[in-house]
Symmetry: C2
Subunit: 262 residues, 2 copies
């Protein structure tokens, strides 16, 4: 499974302060730690970044790719900040991933931007209205986004469909709907569509000491449904161990006594 | 999921010594601890017990049911020891489970014994020959055992089909065959057949510190396939927490912040 390391986010106080002070060290340390722990993409979540978003995203991308040879997942609703990031992104280390478009017209330009820069794209299967009720509704939205991507010349294999994971503590039945959506998304194209989730959304609102358990157990079920990638915390060793073990059962990794160290 | 507590086994030195000395305390302590941790059945594995098997099984059953109000899983190949256990088993606390019949003619009398005592029965889907190659072969064997049970008057709902879990470290691809067998077994009857596994078989031969991780990750996949019950270690808190969390995702437990304490 492809891990998109989630730790560099404006939500974390330490990261936010480093962003404001333009202090690269804490951000670079987090990037390096996640990369070493097995993240393929490093997520760069700068939030809405309404003031100086372009400058901030550019600085973030350059600072991070100075220390890790990894592609980035550019995570903001600010379209011009995304453009600034894509302009400086070092594609030698893999193509950038843009997070995210959706079925909300405000997010349409993000799809065009991904096509323009030959980047990969996360497509959240939500519209402007309320949350999708079930897997079928998510598939309907996915089909609309895919049609728009085709028009824009963005290949289907560059899209990661995201069913939107909701918190289990208040919307328990949605957990299975999202797993079913992961299964159904793959059927929308041949070769199968890629999929992604924001894994830790599942444990939002639960007692902190239970979050990792809930995240990693849900990860097994999602992987079993065919999940391609997850925005997750690669520094959570128990979660990474669980993911690696699931890959052994799915015959994607050959068993060796040392498989957890790979 | 129904947990069959596996700790009272002749394989454990402490248990073996207590059996030999007819010292009930260590055995009763293990029974009580497993019962409190959520085991429904307490497994009583006395091994082949060729000498004095009847007396040993009788003493074990009586000693254990003196301290826990739980039904027992009588686990030996010694038919007369099984009979002795069934004769003293206290059915007030649930019907006994007999472990196990199979497609080996030497194990046929065990099926008749379960029918005679109105006990439940584990049916291992192996024959006298080699190990089953895949899920389909396991289903063929299951069908033969079910036909024999029908003749003996043992109801289908009293049988737990066991696909036989093999160790992942040497027979990696069998892990998925067994999961598929759990899915297919349920289709053999309406209402669906019950299923059971010897969970820790999956991690036989792997480094000891990885066993619980491998067991509990496999448990999630088995439960997702519809597994009814497992012979497992209820004192492994991480495994029990994982099982409880999976039950939340499968909507079998209503989420509450305290669900791990239930």
């Amino acid at each position: 499974m492809i891990i998109i390391g989630e730790k560099i986010s404006v939500i974390a106080k330490k990261v936010r302060e480093a962003m404001e002070a333009r202090d690269p060290k804490p951000i670079q340390d987090l990037a390096l730690a996640q990369w070493k722990a097995g993240a393929y993409f490093i997520d760069v979540n700068i939030g809405p970044a309404e003031d100086n978003g372009e400058d901030l995203m550019k600085w973030m991308c350059e600072s991070i790719q100075e220390v890790v040879q990894a592609p980035l997942c550019l995570d903001t609703t600010n379209v011009s900040a995304l453009r600034a990031g894509l302009e400086v992104h070092n594609n030698e280390w893999g193509r950038a991933l843009v997070n995210s478009t959706s079925n909300d017209p405000e997010r349409f330009p993000i799809l065009d931007l991904a096509a323009e820069f030959n980047a990969e794209l996360i497509a959240l299967t939500v519209g402007k209205g309320g949350l999708p009720a079930d897997a079928e509704e998510r598939c309907g939205i996915a089909a609309e986004i895919m049609a728009r991507a085709m028009e824009a010349g963005l290949p289907m294999e560059d899209i990661y469909l995201d069913p939107l994971i909701l918190q289990v503590c208040t919307t328990q039945d949605q957990a299975m709907h999202s797993i079913k959506a992961i299964e159904m998304f793959q059927e929308l194209n041949d070769p199968p569509m890629k999929t992604v989730v924001g894994l830790s959304n599942i444990s939002n609102g639960v007692p902190k000491n239970m979050r990792s358990l809930i995240d990693r157990t849900y990860a097994v079920l999602l992987m079993n449904a065919g999940l391609t990638s997850a925005i997750a915390n690669p520094l959570d060793k128990e979660m990474m161990d669980t993911i690696k073990t699931t890959e052994v059962f799915m015959n994607k990794t050959l068993y060796a006594d040392s498989y957890l160290e790979m």
